[in-house]
């Protein structure tokens, strides 16, 4: 068997595997385009015969998705900004030194990374309500998400900083820079890509966040899209085409960003998780 044949065969198998694995995603897109009756047909149709393109506008309007997505965006951007401002410096210091104190700090951060949100939400909710933070529920959620996701961000960005050679910073110091100057002129520009990718990952997480928003935001007009989807799915719903249309509108931007930046996101993710 020639190399070319082998490569083609492997690629074909890989495509089949990917198709099987990504079928749920396809099913979401295809269901959204079906009419009520086509949706419940047996056997199910795997290609839509008469796609209902108007469903997106309908769901957008009827579920008030603009407001939900805006809230998701506010929460995600708020959380990412807070995490980036606080986390970058922390990651830098933890990457630059090796000492007992750094090990302790790193250990604490890894520990905080693993605390499940659904378990931490009880004390955070009670504490926040006592300090009146629940009067600004979106801010409360931003703070909670920041605390939850910052450790992960620090671990990822630390790996990026470790790939910037220490000599570059030392050269900048000898060249006449203060620590500030060396950090902002040399280290930060070189770590920019890694920081950006990590921030995008955190943004994606925060954009889909559910537990904190569900628990802390009572007012419908402040809830994000995840909570909106949850209230859309009643226990005995049969509006699956509408729900899938909602899901499509919700995830497509996230998926588009992911596919565009796929290579960088994957390498950023792996460098942090195992190092």
């Amino acid at each position: 068997m020639s190399d070319q044949m082998r490569n083609r065969l492997m690629l074909a198998v890989a495509l089949v595997l990917a198709a099987i694995y990504l079928f749920p995603l396809y099913w979401m897109y295809i269901t959204a385009l079906k009419t009520g009756s086509a949706m419940f047909a047996t056997p199910p149709k795997f290609l839509p015969s008469e796609p209902q393109w108007s469903i997106y506008a309908h769901v957008w309007e009827s579920r008030n998705m603009g407001r939900y997505l805006w809230n998701s965006l506010v929460i995600a951007l708020g959380a990412v900004s807070l995490i980036a401002v606080l986390g970058v410096g922390c990651a830098y210091v933890l990457a630059r030194y090796r000492s007992v104190w750094v090990d302790i700090g790193l250990f604490l951060i890894l520990m905080l990374q693993v605390l499940p949100a659904s378990l931490m939400v009880t004390p955070i909710f009670v504490g926040f309500s006592q300090f009146g933070l629940l009067d600004t529920p979106r801010l409360a959620v931003i703070l909670a998400i920041a605390a939850k996701s910052m450790p992960f961000f620090v671990v990822l960005v630390r790996a990026t900083f470790m790939s910037v050679p220490m000599e570059l910073e030392e050269a900048a110091l000898v060249d006449g820079n203060s620590r500030f100057g060396a950090f902002f002129n040399i280290v930060l520009p070189l770590a920019r890509n890694g920081i950006l990718v990590s921030a995008i990952l955190i943004f994606m997480q925060a954009f889909g966040e559910f537990v904190y928003s569900k628990s802390m935001i009572q007012a419908v007009e402040l809830q994000p899209a995840s909570v909106g989807l949850n209230s859309f799915m009643g226990p005995n719903t049969n509006e699956w085409n509408n729900i899938m249309a909602y899901a499509t509108i919700y995830v497509t931007p996230v998926l588009a960003v992911f596919i565009l930046l796929q290579r960088r996101i994957v390498s950023g993710l792996t460098s942090g998780a195992l190092k």
């Binding site: 690629l11 890989a14 419940f40 700090g105 378990l119 966040e209 799915m233 919700y250 998926l255 996101i265």
Partner: protein, 300 residues
């Protein structure tokens, strides 16, 4: 004052400032809640005492009550089943895919990366999609299973207590497999090629190479991935909210969903805190394993 300023611009003060601020933030927003959680688990908390710190302490009453409840045992067993089945499924399928994609062919790394969409999607959306796929009468999974002759009648995944937990497990395996695969791929690519060539010259066949080279060389990676799987599985909440809501009759309930349900559905914050404390201790033990198995880096 001048010395402090000089230390900030040129010395350690710069580093200390950078690290103290975020640590303080984490301490207040993660550390304090952690402590508060433990405190509440020893208190009587109801809707009236929610706003005050001065609540009556009740010793281990919450813990005793919790373990005398009839649903506690099945929920703990469900959690164990959910965790072990999810990790096993994610790891085995992930390892298989990683091995397949480690054979170099054009497009391999791009296609492999594409799998990760399952992991970056909002958990609730994954839950919604699987909720629909697993639907009893019209679900596409039942259709496939009928067509291939695996089942005769439809399985009511979400409403049959025998299957409801498995419904979430299937969705969770789908969600986590890609992440396992990517991390395992990294581990596989870290094994030097000449080791395989040497083993081949020594006469080892593909299977022998897998057991004598691949597995031993991947030991720390596998340890880290399984620990990470444990951590992620115990964090899984959105799928329960999106598929079964723990029902019917707690048949698919697990501790991390139950803790939330106790606090925010039944307003029994003390019990919610109690179960949280137990599970957090457990998660932390898992993370110690994770941290230990990833501490091999050397700074050059």
């Amino acid at each position: 004052m001048k010395r402090i300023l000089a230390s900030v611009t040129d010395g350690k003060g710069f580093d200390i400032g950078l690290v103290l601020l975020p640590l303080a933030f984490l301490l207040v927003l993660s550390g304090l809640p952690l402590v508060y959680n433990v405190v509440m688990s020893f208190q009587e908390v109801d809707m009236f005492s929610l706003g005050t710190f001065a609540r009556p302490f009740v010793g281990f009453k919450n813990y005793v009550d919790l373990f005398s409840q009839p649903e506690t045992r099945p929920i703990l067993l469900n959690t164990a089943l959910f965790v072990s089945a999810s990790i096993a499924g994610q790891f085995l399928i992930g390892f298989g895919l990683a091995l397949f994609f480690s054979m170099n062919f054009p497009g391999a790394s791009w296609l492999r990366g594409l799998f990760l969409v399952s992991w970056v999607m909002p958990g609730l959306v994954v839950g919604a999609i699987w909720n629909w796929i697993l639907s009893g009468d019209f679900g596409v999974l039942n259709f496939f299973l009928r067509e291939t002759g695996i089942i005769d009648g439809n399985i009511f995944w979400r409403s049959d207590p025998h299957y409801s937990l498995w419904a979430v497990i299937i969705a969770n395996i789908w969600l986590g497999t890609s992440f396992n695969m990517i991390l395992l791929s990294v581990g596989l690519s870290g094994i030097p090629k000449d080791l395989y060539e040497a083993a081949e010259l020594d006469g080892a066949n593909a299977l022998q190479r897998f057991f004598t080279i691949t597995l031993p060389m991947m030991r720390s990676t596998i340890g880290a991935i399984i620990a990470l799987g444990l951590i992620f599985t115990l964090q899984q909440f959105d799928l329960f909210a999106g598929i079964t809501s723990g029902g019917p009759n707690n048949s698919s309930n697990v501790t991390q969903y139950w803790a939330w349900d106790l606090s925010f559905r039944q307003y029994d914050f003390a019990k919610g805190a109690t179960i949280s404390v137990i599970m957090i201790v457990f998660v932390m033990l898992a993370s110690v394993v994770y941290v230990r198995s990833t501490r091999h880096e050397v700074r050059g």
